[in-house]
């Protein structure tokens, strides 16, 4: 919406505006264009962060910045260039690379912010959630609903990186955040390194709910969604498509959403998480959607178009799609990944918008 015509500037108007200022008042008619646009015009801009730069800086930080109580985590956040230098990837989402050196521990804490971890490469860290050590390997997705105690420990002789996604900016806007320190050191019993967390043993069986659990808190009780299952689900969709059956989002474009096995809903109350597989040579239909997303390239390479920006991307690269800006992805033919496809991990604030009936999505013609 263009800025509206303003009343003629007269001494009376100037006096009125001084009165407003004095009484801490602001008229709608000077602000409406910014506040009530005809469609979302995000303060954020599309932007790409190259993984090679992130990992290099994270490693540098690994050597000179200690991890410990107070700073809590060696996490380095994406700061959208249009959001005033704040560590906000989008107006509602936080995305950071976290880095843990061999033998390091990140102390236990909990917070109201909802979080997840996604592993694009490496392994060897266990996230201990409520005393349950959860392994982390390439492709694993670990949701972690707010207010659960958690710590990390690296049990190997190699550093490990992963990305953290949180709703920090959203909760910063709504001002309902709580944070509490836990133990500085977890127990020896929690330092074990099982291949499967207890949560996976209890909840990781398709469609089989443990009868002993009467109800669950908001957020998924399953703490690790292993890559092998995600990969198989995506491959199955493309195979169904090849046989002539429904399953993919559109031709050559498979996608799964991580869901809470106890409810079938998003794994976190405020964050949606998905993996999209775009078959070799395929370009997705541009869509625009209310709310913002952050993507990380999990595998393959291709060309991403977000509004008037376009980038060639490969493994580990991160980029943001602001609200109502058209997005499409094109997989590069023969990119040499395992599946020969472009695999994109995505997270967004869609559950917030859906819960409040503010979600809209449109195909861009």
């Amino acid at each position: 919406m263009k800025a509206p015509d303003q009343p003629d500037v007269t001494p009376a108007l100037e006096e009125l505006y001084r009165g407003f200022e004095q009484e801490l008042l602001v008229p709608l008619w000077t602000e409406i264009g910014d506040l009530m646009p005809t469609h979302p015009r995000s303060r954020a801009v599309p932007h790409l962060w190259k993984w090679e730069n992130l990992i290099k800086l994270a490693d540098q930080a690994g050597h000179i910045v200690p991890v410990g109580r107070g700073g809590e985590r060696r996490a380095i956040a994406l700061a959208n260039p249009a959001l005033g230098g704040r560590p906000f990837a989008t107006p509602t989402l936080w995305a950071a690379i976290q880095y843990l050196m061999p033998g390091e521990n990140a102390p236990e804490h909990r917070h109201s912010q909802h979080a997840f971890r996604f592993v694009v490469e490496g392994e060897g860290v266990w996230t201990v959630v409520g005393g349950d050590p959860v392994p982390m390997q390439r492709g694993d997705f670990l949701p972690q609903a707010g207010w659960n105690w958690h710590a990390h420990h690296n049990s190997t002789s190699k550093p490990m990186a992963w990305i953290d996604g949180l709703d920090i900016p959203f909760q910063y806007a709504t001002e309902a955040q709580f944070f509490e320190y836990g133990r500085d050191e977890i127990s020896d019993a929690e330092r074990i390194t099982p291949e499967r967390s207890r949560s996976e043993r209890l909840w990781g069986h398709t469609g089989l709910r443990p009868v002993s659990v009467k109800s669950t808190a908001p957020g998924s009780p399953l703490l690790n969604y292993k890559w092998a299952f995600t990969d198989a689900a995506l491959a199955d969709q493309l195979a169904l498509e090849a046989e002539g059956y429904a399953g993919t989002v559109e031709q050559g474009h498979a996608a799964v959403r991580y869901t809470d096995p106890a409810t079938g809903r998003d794994v976190l109350p405020t964050i949606r998480t998905e993996v999209h597989r775009i078959a070799s040579g395929v370009e997705t239909t541009p869509v625009k959607e209310t709310g913002s997303s952050v993507y990380q390239v999990f595998d393959g390479s291709g060309v991403i178009t977000v509004g008037d920006k376009s980038w060639t991307v490969s493994r580990g690269d991160l980029f943001v799609v602001p609200s109502w800006v058209p997005f499409s992805a094109k997989s590069e033919a023969g990119s040499g990944s395992d599946s020969g496809a472009l695999d994109l991990f995505r997270f967004s604030d869609s559950p917030v918008l859906e819960a409040l009936h503010l979600h809209r999505i449109e195909t861009v013609k």
Copy 2:
């Protein structure tokens, strides 16, 4: 509640009662004891059906009763001895053994009744649901929500039996049943015998929802819950228990409930389905619950107590637990099953009672 004291029989009362009869009226005070008991007193009774007898009669029927349009299925139903000869296992649940000879087909139809199949032994039949051939093997559970087209075909040279569970008596009571004939013969393309149905390829990945499916009808979109996964889930619960963690219902008693991956709720709107594993030598705490259940022994052997009845059971045996009658199961030590445990498949009308706030459960002291 005992029958209430009745008014003295006088000529006036007799005339009043004649008036009632003439006008099709019945007073509460003569009926209240039966209609409004202090707690549920089921019209049904506990009863056991031995699998060896069922399978023998089913095979006999296989040789002399054809399967075809009109009769629709070679299904033989349990008739609770206290329900007037009606083919009702309990006042709300239908349970039948179905039997298909080599090469036979059961023609396509659909009905509002919710159904499932559970396979205690054998293999070789595919149930074709909406054109999707679903394999059936020992331990497989196939939910099938009402109003889906379905047919069965036996592709092997051996007969196959399984049990059908439906809410026929419940829908008979509520009178909302619809039934429609489909094609007499399914197509050749539907006679294929894949190891996994398309539904499993789309929905059988823990916590991974296909993004392409915007919404699902009532009832689970996953049409086969394979035994290997059920077995693993039960084994995991007992292993967690052995390590000192929560997971089982009570000591030595693991249990999973089949749930709809799209909602986390029961797989069928009117029927709850579970598998219970009772470790060797363990006896479960007696419980009584509103609503009725039918059980089938999947593996192992043991002693079942339902109210004042007690039976020794083994593979395939079926029994019913009427509303509010105490139930417990004791696994026979060293019964020689794979898991060394008593595995019980159970179905009940609990979702009906829960949806209407009529569900109660109590431990019997």
Copy 3:
């Protein structure tokens, strides 16, 4: 569905059937026509009960049958002629006339069955629910969710009648009933006769929820829906229609549903209750619907058609509409009621069918 062709009667078949009988088994193929009809074919039939006969018999009972502990209530139930003499108006619904003589009390009790009272004429009884005396006057509707203590007392010098609606047959079918005696006599403090119950003072303000009440049990917390409000709502709908706006169900046919102010849902988990006003001279479109209904004429007169039955009805008359039987009502022009219209109170089992996804409704062409 017509009865299916049966296998030829041979000695082998006879032996098979003897085997079934011995093992308490019943084949599907002899029963399917009755159990799985192509559409609901109710065991109940349409029937009309004339109020003048009911009230006369109730009064007769008032003079010779005492009210007290054991019999509990002087309630006389409609017995559908096709339901074997049981006091069931339909397979799921109970409808009775209750009658209380001057100064009489009906003792306190509670039960899991959901209930309501509707007053077609008279006044002077207070129903005391959980200690809250609720007045009863012509046109008042008093829902009473299961497991609430309640008693009645007639504080006047005249007898009073009203109808009770309950889900007794439904709970009889599902076998989840509980019943408990309360005090034989309520306290003097509860014998007061206020014009408004406390429930009305707390919940009877449109769209205004008391902040002090954090949550409510199943069923409406509002214990009286007074006629003046119902009448006004119906009049408003017809006035809107007259001005050319939406509001009525169809031309000349206004209708309101009693709803729980805390949830907007039906006032009882198992019973839907509505009042329909059919303007003078109007005939409603025939509809058939799964589930059954009981109607009482509140005011006016007209002609009711249920399937192939047709009756002229007037104030107080009760009739039943079985599942899937077409129903329509025609208001008699100039019938002389206050509104000049035919007012029908209706209750049905629709919430049960809707909760379980078994509800269907169709206009009959």
Copy 4:
């Protein structure tokens, strides 16, 4: 949470930080204290706006600033002194005084932002929502869910003021806003001035849902909650309390929440609205709550305490309570209002926090 200890500033650290800056990255360890506080520390501050000043400035604006397309409304918003001069009463809520001169019209538009109007004094404006003219008088509350067409017209010879509440700042943060112009002039038929809107005639009958309406959009279909009903509900609560029954929030403190009659939920998906009546001489228990509120004094006078601020307030005054800042109100004895009590209208963002499981409330000891 205090700012964490920072790593020693070395050339290596300075180089690292330069690298972060260059790559648009920000470390968590320098920001965590602000981003993840131990409890909400609002950017907003408590503040009071006096009605006499607001109304004077609004009237001044009425004489020199025209109302018309582009500026859309003569609305003057509260700007929290700690929110950088933006017209945000709190980080999520917008509150403005709107003013319409005799005979003026505010043109039709619609927007995704949810809105309401509350009238503290005056009358004579009708808000036309989707063609339905809704009257506005002292004490009336008009919810208006997003994306409904609406216009205002003043049909009298006197100016009229009221307050508008919207979720503009919240939707500004989540960036899902849409806005569309409607007609510049509404029709003559819409310029009528009925005492009751059509929405009130259809939905304004307690617990009586129009059967003709199958489903409603998010937000209440009832467009006016008249003061007489609100006043009666509050009076009833205090009368119940006086008789010894439950009903009030705490001694001498009655409160009602405006709810959607179709669902029993808040009238708007993002905004909760309530009226609190504090009896003469009573002081409420201090509470702190996540999320923010705006209050307007509807009647009476008293002393408000918000954190370390304290003000004497009277009719029309507005003040804000930021997230997690303790709030209490004391009614001034004998303040001379109709009810002799302090009546406070309140709106808050609680539905947002509740939908996302971020709501917490605590009594301050």
